[in-house]
């Protein structure tokens, strides 16, 4: 079980009579590792709570996400969707941590955590509906691809502005505490987003209000082209939590068992003690930042190769095989099946119509106020006049 020692309080702090500056060398942040790359477990390592079923569910999600990411990058290149972001190389981080949660713990993600949503059971066709902005998209076709959200699955809709979900997670978790629910919030963010003021506000408030929240940092080395060495001068993100009265742990983010273990322990702290925890997962964004990006402009292939050797999916596969829970044959089959399913779903989603024009003005407010109704009416009249110019909607305007 995790340490629950008391924080040192000011009053007990020592006195000195000559100036001593403290700095990063006064705080050491160890990294939790459980799995070696070959799938063997470090000696003395304590395994997380995991059985075959959970292990295979995690692995299934890995495979699904790999298939999805690969396919959608291709789809973007073909011009079928406008934008995509992969999580290749980081699957163990979001999927391993979500696997430690209760199904109704709220997930507040940044944008590179489709794996967490898949683990929760978001249907493949919903992924596709979102990316194709069609009328079946839960988000009504309003946001760019990958901005998923699902109330049923307790996955807060993604918002592009970075860092904003962090103080929101504190408020959401405070709501759990008020209602004495046995739930926590997990809030994902990148090491880049951790530079936003909202990050600081969030962890400071989490410490003061003692909320059941897990702040999960994917420290993947880059924020678009900016390496973490130009993002911060400290020793990563974990020490910040210490400074604000939280507990923190650093894990090998490519080691799904370490991630799972750390998150299981963090969840206990959050739920049982209203102790907010920050987890820093050290990982690497193997792909481009997004389909709009080309990393060859700012980093070397060699660096990428070094990290490709730490592939979290492969590492976990080795362990599964060593457990006798999985085989190479099954592996080939599943990859194939996932690819086919993704392709089929994509083709389906492409056929679905765009959202109805009326949804241009719904949800701005709970009900459309008069001025929006008028603007919509005007717009419809205009579209009727120029149907060819608005092919997506012209055919479907009700002829009031």
């Amino acid at each position: 079980m995790a340490n629950l020692k008391q924080s040192a309080k000011q009053s007990e702090a020592p006195v000195v009579h000559n100036p001593v500056f403290i700095d990063g060398s006064d705080l050491t942040t160890p990294t939790l590792k459980i799995l070696r790359q070959d799938g063997s477990v470090y000696e003395g390592a304590e395994l997380p709570d995991i059985n075959k079923e959970l292990a295979l569910k995690i692995y299934d999600t890995f495979q699904f996400i790999r298939a999805l990411d690969e396919r959608m990058v291709a789809a973007q290149r073909q011009g079928r969707i406008s934008f995509y972001m992969t999580e290749i190389g980081e699957e163990a981080a979001d999927i391993g941590s979500t696997a430690a949660l209760a199904d109704d713990d709220m997930i507040m993600a940044q944008y590179r955590e489709q794996g967490a949503l898949a683990f929760r059971g978001f249907p493949l066709d919903q992924f596709m509906n979102q990316m194709f902005s069609n009328e079946k998209d839960l988000g009504k076709g309003r946001q760019m691809p990958i901005h998923y959200g699902s109330k049923d699955l307790h996955y807060m809709t993604i918002s592009s502005p970075l860092g904003t979900q962090l103080p929101q997670a504190v408020g959401y978790a405070y709501g759990y505490k008020l209602e004495e629910k046995d739930n926590c919030v997990i809030c994902y963010f990148g090491e880049g987003a951790a530079s936003e003021g909202d990050f600081h506000a969030a962890i400071n408030m989490a410490g003061v209000f003692k909320v059941p929240a897990i702040f999960f940092c994917r420290n993947n080395g880059y924020a678009i082209s900016t390496p973490s060495s130009e993002q911060f001068a400290g020793d990563g993100i974990a020490p910040r939590a210490v400074a604000y009265g939280l507990k923190a742990i650093r894990v090998d983010g490519n080691d799904v068992l370490a991630v799972l273990k750390a998150t299981q322990e963090a969840r206990k702290l959050a739920i049982e003690h209203n102790q907010p925890v920050l987890i820093e997962a050290m990982t690497y964004r193997l792909g481009a930042h997004s389909t709009s990006d080309d990393p060859s402009g700012y980093r070397s292939k060699k660096e990428e190769e070094k990290w490709r050797e730490k592939d979290p999916v492969l590492r976990f596969k080795h362990w599964l095989i060593q457990q006798g829970w999985w085989s190479e044959e099954q592996d080939a089959d599943i990859a194939d099946a996932k690819r086919k399913a993704v392709m089929a779903a994509m083709k389906e989603a492409e056929k679905v119509a765009a959202p109805h024009l009326d949804d241009l003005i719904t949800d701005v407010y709970d009900t459309p106020p008069k001025h929006l109704q008028e603007q919509l009416a005007e717009l419809k009249a205009h579209i009727r006049q120029y149907p060819d110019a608005y092919p997506k909607t012209a055919g479907r305007i009700d002829h009031e």
Binding site: G149, T157, T164, L166, Q168, G175, Y365, D366
Partner: protein, 325 residues
Amino acid sequence: MSNMNLLQAVNNALDIAMEKEPKTVCFGEDVGHFGGVFRATSHLQEKYGKSRCFNTPLTEQGIIGFANGLAAGGHKAIAEIQFADYIFPAFDQIVNEAAKFRYRSGNEFNVGGLTIRSPYGGGIHGGLYHSQSPEAYFTGTPGLKVVMPRNPYQAKGLLLASIRDDNPVIFFEPKRLYRASTGEVPEEDYELPLGKADIMQEGRDITVLGWGAQMEVLEKAVAMAAEDGISCELIDLRTLMPWDVETVTQSVQKTGRLLISHEAPLSGGFAGEIAATIQDTCFLSLESPIARVTGLDTPFPLAHDKEYMPDHLKNYEAIKRSVSF
């Protein structure tokens, strides 16, 4: 009925809201035990406990971020920003998050339970940073409602409606009137409608429109004009977004003239939006240009605050100019 000042009316509304709906939570800088620097939240912590009325750390972006999350979880989150001048660190959480929460999620999630209260406006020798009227920064953001009351009765009814409205509402309180404005206020729970202007006085010659603390100034100006035989229709807009185009249009179609007054600077102030709309809806009725009597296009000054303010004399003169155009 009991006699209350505007602060007491706000406090009373919060009290009722918290009593009736246990999911209601009030927070902000110094809002807890101390009851806020103006004491708008006095005794709420005593009555409802520290978990429902509390101090936050000193971070406006954190306060509204927190409030958004709390509201998204189904609570009524009432956040206080100590002065409207200090709302800007929270601007992103308000205009990019709160305002767009429902829309971007296709209504999977919303922060309809959010209300942001903040004292605004000049007249307390506050200079640049304790005097601003930032309403127009928010009226230009679809998804937000903006409400500004003029007196205790209005404050209570509009605040209760704002809290219960299922949209994020920014509620700016005229701090100059916190103690100066008193009046009879029903003790019981009541709401005044959002989105409806209030015709305070009917008239024939010109429509005089404002909101919040400015109504007191306009009442004086209108009274002066009356002595000159000018009959003004005085309207308190109350809700700035979505605003009551219909009531203003009807009034201007009748009077043929419109004056709009606010403390915020002229350029980019909300009077511009109203004037642009009304010159369209009332083009054929307008007998003189729509007049705007506002603060100057400067930061809010200190030594010259009297000169800066759109006081009753400036409004009175503008009324006369408009009528004799």
